[in-house]
């Protein structure tokens, strides 16, 4: 368990770093997807298969592909090599970021009693429970999100209809 966890988190961290650092946009996206897959692996480790499946379906299958599609439409896939962002005081920034992160995490770290109790046995992440939760306490939120997404979809359709065609229709 620990070994798998270490490997997956290493992959996740490295690919996330690469996604930020790589200058080639497509490579960056591909590493981002590797990160998503590693995250899905972590979900499986937590016995949350459904969440893992959704993670891959939504982030790798849809969001990542969408990003790639958007990149395909841009002119330059590879960043300009000559143009480097000059970083001054990178170490200071790193230290600051670490400090902020630690401050945020400190209460959680302090409160946790070590060694950790195994989480797996206490929760039952079945799809049925998830569905019931969505349907009972969170119905309104779900409906609102659904409405919002439908509106977005309709908006996309409206934008996608090219004005060229409508002119032709007017003529005929």
């Amino acid at each position: 368990m620990i070994i798998t966890f270490s490997i997956l988190s290493a992959i996740a961290v490295i690919s996330a770093l690469l996604a930020v650092r790589l200058r080639n946009l497509v490579h960056a996206t591909l590493t981002l997807m590797a990160f998503f897959v590693a995250l899905a692996g972590l979900f499986i480790l937590l016995m949350a298969e459904f969440l893992a499946a959704v993670q891959i379906l939504v982030y790798v299958g849809a969001v990542g592909i969408l990003i790639l599609f958007a990149i395909m439409l841009t002119q330059q896939v590879t960043g300009n090599v000559k143009e480097h962002i000059e970083a001054h005081g990178a170490l200071w920034g790193l230290a600051g970021a670490t400090a902020v992160l630690l401050t945020l995490l400190l209460p959680a770290i302090l409160k946790t009693a070590l060694p950790l109790q195994p989480v797996v046995e206490t929760i039952d992440p079945s799809v049925r429970a998830l569905g019931l939760n969505l349907m009972a306490p969170y119905t309104i939120a779900l409906q609102v999100i659904a409405l919002l997404l439908t509106a977005a979809l309709l908006g996309a359709v409206v934008i996608a209809i090219s004005p060229e065609k409508s002119e032709e229709e007017k003529k005929s």
Partner: protein, 383 residues
């Protein structure tokens, strides 16, 4: 009809206020699975839509005309086989016709009949395989093509029997044909012709009603009537645009005035019309063949005097209705055994003039079938 020439259309790339797309330029050919030989199209694509298309050819150019001007008149006959290598019989006939017109040679009755039979058989096999290739361009993994090839084999067997060669027949001569038909040939030919409508029925039931073929061919690559005339389009492509112009009816060359056949005409001028006109023309060809086979007389088949002759200074333009369109030969003689000028008017070459007009604004997949429906053979385009 007092318009000036119909200029090539320009396709306007849609560019909204901030939505700019790049044009993708691809070079389709000369090695591409769908270009029917070493043909190249320089295509610019806006997404999948064709915004510019320039045909490029010459990869098979061997200066056929120059070769012909350095050999005797008869010496060019085998070279004409290599023009449109699908239809060597009609190529032979067109050349023989031009020379006969220039030198004033007469053709014996039986030879005229044999020429008609050979030309119509050529038309059958050319149209059948063209429709097959067209469906292949549509992505039908070769099934209709192989059915067509099966029928073509029967006809090529007949050619081989009569002339000794399946494709490069070199069969026609000035003032007739090279040799008489072997015994039994006519009976076999009758059998092939009688069997052909069954194949046609099968072919038509399988293809003409197919929803995918309908939706992909109809209203794709429309060639307007005026443009077709102005751009000198000939053959099935012209008739698909609704112009009644068949040289077999107009010039009545050979003995075509003796046969009863009709000229099918399209109305829209799209790929589907070009496809259907070919199917209908095959039916008419079968009609002509049946009449010719029933009435072919006995007699000599060639004029032995017209071998290596030296025509008087003259010029002539002879043309026939080849399967792909008007195939013409323009000959100028200066009194020597070699032609002073020998020019081929290749139908495939000129029919390509309107390729860009038909493809603009269509999808890249349509460009492929538009090219397929024009029916080109690169041996003839490049010469």
């Amino acid at each position: 009809m007092s318009t000036e020439t119909i200029a090539p259309r320009e396709y306007q790339i849609y560019s909204g206020d901030d939505l700019r797309t790049n044009v993708l330029e691809i070079s389709m050919g000369p090695q591409h699975p769908s270009t029917h030989g070493v043909f190249r199209m320089d295509v610019s694509l806006d997404g999948e839509t064709v915004v510019k298309l320039k045909p490029v050819f010459g990869y098979l150019h061997r200066n056929h005309e120059k070769i012909a001007e350095t050999t005797s008149y008869l010496g060019s006959m085998p070279y004409t086989d290599r023009l449109d290598y699908f239809c060597s019989m009609t190529n032979n006939w067109a050349y023989a016709l031009a020379v006969e017109k220039m030198a004033g040679l007469a053709v014996p009755e039986r030879a005229e009949y044999i020429r008609v039979i050979m030309a119509e058989l050529t038309r059958l096999q050319n149209h059948a395989s063209l429709v097959g290739f067209l469906t292949n361009d549509l992505g039908a993994s070769g099934t209709p093509l192989l059915y067509a090839i099966r029928e073509r084999e029967h006809i090529l067997d007949l050619f081989e029997w009569a002339s000794g060669a399946r494709m490069m027949c070199n069969y026609m001569r000035f003032g007739g044909v090279r040799n008489d038909l072997p015994s039994g040939w006519l009976a076999q030919c009758k059998k092939v012709v009688d069997d052909f409508p069954a194949f046609m029925d099968e072919f038509e039931t399988l293809l003409t009603g197919n929803e995918i073929i309908l939706s992909r061919c109809q209203n794709v690559g429309v060639l307007p009537r005026d443009l077709a005339i102005n751009a000198s389009i000939t053959g099935p492509c012209l008739r698909a645009s609704g112009v009644d112009y068949d040289l077999r009816k107009v010039d009545k060359y050979g003995i075509y005035d003796r046969f009863d056949f009709k000229v099918p005409l399209g109305s829209v001028g799209d790929c589907y019309d070009r496809f259907m006109i070919r199917l209908l023309e095959m039916r008419e060809s079968v009609k002509i063949l049946k009449q010719a086979l029933a009435t072919i007389p006995e007699g000599p088949v060639n004029d032995s005097k017209a071998r290596n002759f030296r025509p008087k200074p003259a010029e002539a333009y002879g043309r026939i209705e080849g399967p792909k369109g008007e195939l013409g030969f323009y000959l100028v003689s200066d009194g020597t055994p070699k032609p002073h000028r020998y020019h081929v008017r290749p139908p495939s070459f000129i029919n390509l003039t309107v390729l860009e007009d038909m493809c603009l604004g269509q999808k890249i997949a349509d460009a492929v079938i538009v090219l397929g429906s024009i029916d080109i053979v690169l041996g003839e385009v490049d010469r």
